[in-house]
Symmetry: C2
Subunit: 666 residues, 2 copies
């Protein structure tokens, strides 16, 4: 190997180890073991341009083993993405550009946030899926504006996680030939040799899932890595897995042991590693020839963009409409102003919100070519099928309906990748209770703050006969407590429309939680729902005796309860609160107009955990909520026995009102 | 095939279809397609005794595809487990013994609750693991008290879920030869042919995971099924997968289509199915010869228990100590009264609760032979390694440390199975934030109400440099809102001891949420923590001006804040609330003694979502909580910038106190 090349590889190692030592925290094992993979890919194969990190047709790189973040930061530094020596020295420090795990939107060149293992592979499947869908729509016989690879680097941890298997299954089924995953197979995880917990034949398993599998027996052999990448690129009908046998912490005294996975090498270990590599540069410095070498590689890699610019010029001339649509989609802005569409707000009475959701989705899909999505094998129940939009498959990459199979976790992480690629408004769907299976991927949408839409139907004991395994209870507060995530639980079609408008025009992820059962159309609902909380039944007095707060299927119940209270001379206001997060973002004056602070007699009604509602009802109020598991029975019987009746709500409200009045008199 | 046999198979089908039709809800596809598998297994192979469903050495059967519940109910009815004709007629009705999905503890003969797909396979791995561990401890050269199979039936949905892959990997790695899984491969899921989403070679994949794979091409061929079961039983060093090609909804007009997966056949469809099978019995009746045949089979299957009883008599005579220990373990009661162990309560100052947790676990493991568990590859970080207790592996089934690998979801579901088998007190562990990955399996522990212990360390921004992907925020309220689950977040070693005592002596599942960082030993902590909430810093007056409520790492902070408030002449009480669920179970008088209703100036302090605390602080109080994601930096800096300082808590409390006092004067 040419010395500048081996020095270039070792620069990744040493910079990583130095940064980790400086931070006294981090994971040197992966960067040191996988440096040759990263070098070979980034320097010789990846089409990317550090001067334009947002280039639409760049090859994507996902570091699924996010704890190896210093590998990525070293690359971004060496290739000139703007990460400075000082940034490396501030690894894992407050407000630095180099946090412990890579963070999307925080560090230029990071395509997705990783850390929770396995999700990066699923994100990568989403990137490759996006590429194939855009290619199907925009590429022409003669000109191909979309034509790039998605590369991913994962480790043993990713391979053990079920989500990797789920994602690999979809990648194989979909035949994503432009997806190339490197498996950094070093045989070590935190508890020791992977042999104690993981004896799978990973190669054979991926072959069984429809992948091409290539093996590089010596992770130090750059030419072998190079050859494998070429073979992987050539296989266009299957995703490729390149199994690379590496040594964790290569070159350090603890190489090949778990001891160098997640702890700094120590000053002595670092010095010994430098000795091994004949590394004499000052800390955080790279020799001039290495720096020049990386600059040359970066320039070479960026040539692809210059070529692409020419392609796009021709494309614009030959296909101006497609060009414009593609640029519009790249911008991330919706291609049509949906909030002004009046037909979005028209619904018949007595429909389930899963149905109104389905009707809205279909209208939106007609208007927005960028809207794609699907369900975890529940489209006929979630009502998420987009009519006449085709089914995405290996044979039809133009289809806009995604069949994710029964793989919630991969579905959510793939949808994150699909959005992150650019060019899509993306949704995915399952039964609400099974949001549990994809909780952490939803959290990642929220952490990255990307507007992925989750359609979650069958939202309560309204599920009925399927019983407690299928009846959500704690999921509403579980999602509401995720920072950045908006959770809508619409009460009728109009509130469902508001939820979709908020979801698609906002910048955050949104969960839209829908009923299985039919619900009445509220007379007072409408665009006010875009404020998150509003009055659907006004009190007679300006200051009501009692306020009933509800969401979804419990709103109409509260309207009925208010009528019953009226007969008892108790003046009740009903507030529909389809989205707490949006309500909380309103000005204080608005919030206090809806929930006057002096009205302490408040009852929150929701067929979910009470934890969501103490914030509004305080110590003087009460909740009519679901704080046990449900059971298997027809839904109407369950609502009855668990107290979700106008009668019980009215009774509770009257009690609260009287007790509060009494407390004031004391 | 003998007519009585085909009638016996068809009885399962018809009873299932009739019950589903009667309920007008349910899933006929699986019971009709998989009836021959179930028949062959239950009637010819399974060692079980309907008269003693708790027999320790019975073969276990898990219906992982829980939506096919009527298959199991039909079997339980036909074999005489006590489910009556009326029970079948009440399928999916309120309070019936035949809920929509099988429920453990509710219906005799149901070994585990299933429905959330894939988890049943992992439960079955747990059963087989339990069998192998008990066998290692109790079996002797000459006498084998523990020697049974675990059978599991799963469908395409289970096979797509990542948890199945994770569980299969562990079963293969562990060489669980007594585990036999049937894959009801009908090629249909809700969205249509599985081909649209699932083109894996399932057989080859399992082979790559160390399984023996057998295939039965015709799911109607009872002799082929029989032969496959025999081969599976003979393979003792690998788990076996029997891939059975079946026809969903076999015999019904919609056979082979998604239409019969999850909807009743309709009256006509049911009639046509009866016609197909030449079925003339009255609804919910079985012909006499079929009933007799099942009675004969049941008697035959039960003979194994009679043989075993003889074995146990010999065992008791030859190995009285082991016999007694085994019987003790079967009883489910702890083998030693740990609450009275004084050494459990001794800790040095300034230790992390993950460390005190590790110390306690090791003491408990010395005392309790039934205690086993492990981590998802984080034992050195979770501090869950049981010293000198051996590592469980294919080669050492006597080991009590389980290496689950990086597979949180399967870990939790396997631990559920391990407990359900009987004979164990079981725990599992990971970083708290990754409880997300196993959330639904934890929910299943709670739904089944079984005392599995979850050790969840690295509980807040105290994680520090690993950053927001690794810092829990919403997980505390996420778990607290699960019905039946106890969530302890101990403030020091003594509270950690209380958590373990509560966990191991209680009947519910418990999550023990521990710090990464060191915490001071509180002077007032101790067995009072067993009440869930108690006073750790008394106010000077009987009725304090303000109450500070905290958990875990924030308790000592509040004690400091109370001192600071004292200097401002504000009299503060500090309540440590390690477990809200246990506190809520105390008598009202106790709760009001700790939190006097008249003291409305309250501040809750916890480095987690505020949603947990509004219940106690109401509209007059405040929270010092974590309602955004954290970031990557040293932990002490994070606590500072997010307001977890005695100074900020004191300031907040002073403000709350003054505002409340003012409101009283108005």
């Amino acid at each position: 190997m040419e010395k500048v090349v081996s020095d270039a590889v070792n620069a990744i190692r040493i910079l990583s180890a130095e940064s980790i030592q400086q931070a006294n925290s981090g994971h040197p094992g992966l960067p040191m073991g996988a440096a040759p993979i990263a070098y070979t890919l980034w320097a010789r194969h990846m089409h990317h341009n550090p001067k334009d990190p947002q280039w639409l047709n760049r090859d994507r790189f996902v570091l699924s083993a996010g704890h190896g973040s210093m590998l990525l930061y070293s690359l971004l530094h060496l290739f000139g993405y703007g990460l400075t020596k000082v940034d490396l020295m501030n690894f894992r420090q407050l407000k630095s550009k180099t946090p412990g795990h890579p963070e999307y939107g925080h560090t230029v060149g990071v395509e997705t946030s990783t850390g929770p293992l396995g999700q990066g592979v699923a994100n990568a499947v989403g990137f490759a899926l996006a590429e194939s869908m855009l290619a199907a729509r925009y590429n022409k016989e003669d000109i191909r504006p979309i034509d790039h690879y998605t590369y991913c680097l994962c480790g043993d941890g990713c391979m053990m996680e079920g989500i990797e298997y789920e994602a690999a299954s979809l990648a194989g089924t979909w035949g994503l030939g432009k997806l190339i995953v490197f498996y950094d197979s070093n045989g070590i995880s935190i508890e020791g040799s992977t042999d104690i917990a993981f004896r799978d034949d990973v190669a054979r398993r991926h072959e069984a899932q429809g992948w091409q599998v290539l093996t590089v027996d010596d992770g130090e052999d750059i030419e072998a890595l190079d050859a494998a990448i070429v073979l992987a690129q050539k296989c266009t009908d299957k995703p490729s897995l390149i199994v690379v046998k590496t040594v964790i912490g290569y070159g350090s005294p603890k190489a090949g042991t778990a001891a160098c996975h997640g702890a700094p090498l120590g000053d002595e270990g670092l010095a010994a590693s430098k000795e091994t590599f004949g590394w004499t540069a000052k800390p955080f410095e790279v020799p001039n020839d290495v720096a020049r070498h990386y600059a040359d590689c970066a320039a070479e890699c960026a040539k692809a963009q210059a070529d692409w610019n020419k392609v796009m010029k021709a494309y614009k001339a030959a296909y101006p409409d497609e060009y414009e649509e593609l640029m519009q989609r790249k911008s991330g802005k919706l291609s049509r102003a949906i909030a002004e569409e009046k037909t979005l707000w028209k619904f018949k009475d007595g429909d389930s919100t899963r149905n109104t959701s389905g009707a809205i989705l279909n209208k939106l899909a007609d208007w927005l070519p960028e809207l794609v999505g699907g369900s975890a094998d529940l489209a006929p129940s979630n009502m998420t099928y987009l009519k006449n939009k085709g089914d995405y498959s290996k044979e039809n990459t133009a289809g806009r309906n995604l069949h994710f199979g029964i793989r919630e976790h991969a579905m959510a992480a793939i949808t994150n990748g699909l959005y992150l690629h650019g060019g899509f408004a993306a949704f995915c769907a399952t039964f609400f209770v099974f949001s549990d299976y994809m909780k952490n991927a939803m959290r990642m949408s929220a952490l990255m703050n990307i507007p992925v839409t989750y359609v979650l139907t069958h939202d309560s004991i309204g599920v009925g006969e399927d019983g407690p395994t299928h009846q959500p209870v704690e999921q509403l507060v579980g999602l509401r407590s995720i920072p950045n995530l908006k959770v809508f639980r619409p009460a009728d079609g109009k509130e469902t429309a508001a939820a979709y408008i908020s979801a698609l025009t906002g910048k955050q992820p949104t969960a839209i939680v829908c009923s299985r059962q039919k619900l009445p159309l509220l007379s007072k609902s409408g665009p006010e729902a875009l404020k998150g909380g509003y009055i659907v039944r006004e009190s007679e007095k300006e200051t009501p005796d009692v306020i009933l707060i509800a969401t979804g299927s419990e709103v109409s119940l509260c309207v009925d309860a208010a009528e019953a209270l009226s007969a008892q001379k108790i003046d009740a206001r009903v507030v529909s609160m389809p989205c707490i997060e949006v309500f909380e973002a309103q000005p204080k004056a608005y919030r206090e107009q809806i929930l006057p602070p002096e009205v302490r007699a408040r009852v929150a009604v929701e067929a979910g955990s009470a934890y969501s509602w103490f914030k509004y009802v305080g110590l003087d109020g009460a909740t009519v909520t679901m704080d046990t598991f449900g059971e298997s029975a027809p839904a109407d019987q369950l609502f009855e026995i668990y107290g979700f009746t106008a009668e019980n709500v009215a009774k509770t409200a009257a009690k609260v009102y009287k007790a509060y009045k009494k407390s004031l008199q004391q």
